[in-house]
Amino acid sequence: MNIQLHSIDYVILIVYFAFVLGIGWALKKFMKTSSDFFLSGRAIPAWICGLAFISANLGAQEVIGMAASGAKYGIMTSHFYWVGAIPAMVFVGVFMMPFYYGSKARSVPEYLKLRFDEKTRTFNALSFAFMTVFSSGISMYALAKLFELLLGWNFHVSIIVSAVIVLVYIYLGGLTSAIYNEVLQFFLIVLGFLPLVLLGMKDVGGWHALVDKLNGVAVSSGFAPGTWTQSWSHTGSPSANPMGVEWFGVFMGLGFVLSFGYWCTDFLVVQRAMAADSMSAARRTPLIAAVPKMLFPALVILPGMIAIGLHASKGGFLPMGADGKPDYNMVIPSMLVKYFPPGMLGLGLTALMASFMSGMAGNVTAFNTVWTYDIYQSHINPNQPDSHYLKVGHVITVVGILISIACAYLASAFNNIMDMLQLVFGFVNAPLFATFLLGMFWKRSTGHGAFWGLIAGTVAAGLHWALTVPAGTHHWIKGGCLGVVHTYPVEMAQNFWAAIYAWTVCFVATIGISLATARTKSDDELKGLVYSLTPKIVDHHEPWFKRPATIGALVMLGAIILNIIFW
């Protein structure tokens, strides 16, 4: 596929870049302390943090990937939103933010240090730091690859240009710059992709015509009609739906373990809430983010459903992949070419570019903070004046971007190394939520319990991988290298169950080891860090729209209604 850009499209792209860099420049004079640079001086209003919270997560892999899943699996993909995101976002806002924000920890690993001990913090900080530069490199690689394919742009030039732009605006304006640009990117993504969906819906002939076409797709793939337009009805058995998962795996693996593990403990998103200007704003950040998150399936999944519907009825809508199936990753690019004339095409591509850069910038800001506070300040060079850490922050931003570039080239040369690393990060992440849950809600849990529980959970995830395989795969990277105890219908089911096992092992091991070891922190030291030892927040005098619990309940209600409508 080749897209011809006109000069108007380049003008739009350049105007956007000018604004992005301009915002960094305008914020430069406010970056006086390390807290300004890493935490935005804790001075950002709730709505800005909320939109940045969602935007940092909305990388382009998500936009492209969710549209691909929409075509491949239909509306079941929305489980990643209504089950796999909203409940966890409500939980972190209502129940966990009081400890993150109230403890004055500057990062998620630092919370672990305050609550447990140094070794737990360091384990989390190191794995997180590796993971973020690696993800940022992957974003860069994906961007360069896509633009090479679509526009014929030089791979190296794309990498360098995107890296330099992200570097400049973060170097100048720190976290504030990243957050402001994420808000800009949020609106750009919505305003750039919404007309695509509207035109697609018009083309397909409205919702009922789409359901009709998708029933055809379902039947011709050997499933019951409605499989593509009903999210729960066909999850009784893994073989009844194209995703190959059953409701329990979705509910527990995705909805509980994976989603809570990500939204409640990943510093990349939590950092946006920590930058808020008050406790109330910090708690409302994920709740405000949950509202657009809930509606995003219409923006990112629906295009995939439209594309496959049109592809099935008219043919030729999507290009064919090497395996003889439609190339699902081309949903968004195909629609851009088909529906957008020069002008709008520039806007659409700018939105795509923006989503790549927001994903990258989010990783870089989280990385430089964790590196500076949790690794450099605590292990390498403590007790320096604040100005020293500000300088280190600047330097490490450059270094982080350089490592990301190296990762991008590594990804282009050795696909296996990338798969391997992703696998290992999966093992480390799966059990994390158990540690935080016990840390925040059970004062008896100890540092040894948390650390060894985490290790046990990580090992459990690794063992699960080594003993199971998804059906029909033979490569060692998919698992089963120590023998095959169980065969899952698809890789996704394997992932969901790996998470369930890892979490359970970590949860049980942490409790067991905690009970066997002595507490090292007194009740007084744990004040503000553990639920039972922290004074309750009273907000009865606030109007309802400023009370996190009320907003959280409304958001949950919205998610439940959406699940029922598209049952």
Binding site: I8, V11, I12, V15, Y16, F19, G22, I23, A26, L27, F30, A43, I44, P45, I48, T176, Y180, V183, L184, F187, L191, P195, L199, K202, D203, D277, Y339, F340, P341, P342, G343, M344, G346, L347
Partner: protein, 63 residues
């Protein structure tokens, strides 16, 4: 906050909207019978204007 994000946002979307609207008026390209450049350009202009109005209202409230 030090810099009200609604100003740059208002200017960016207003400006992009203007460019796209004018381009739509000049080229008259139709997608499914719609001049999408013209109409969506206008949507962007309105969005930009709302952002600028909100920024001004916000400034008036906090002296």
């Amino acid at each position: 906050m030090q810099l009200d994000i609604r100003y740059p946002m208002g200017f960016l979307f207003g400006f992009l909207g203007l460019i796209i609207t004018v381009y739509g008026l000049l080229t008259k390209h139709l997608t499914l019978g719609i001049n999408i450049n013209l109409w969506w350009g206008l949507v962007l202009v309105v969005f930009g204007a709302i952002m600028l109005l909100l920024a001004r209202a916000g400034k008036a409230r906090t002296p």
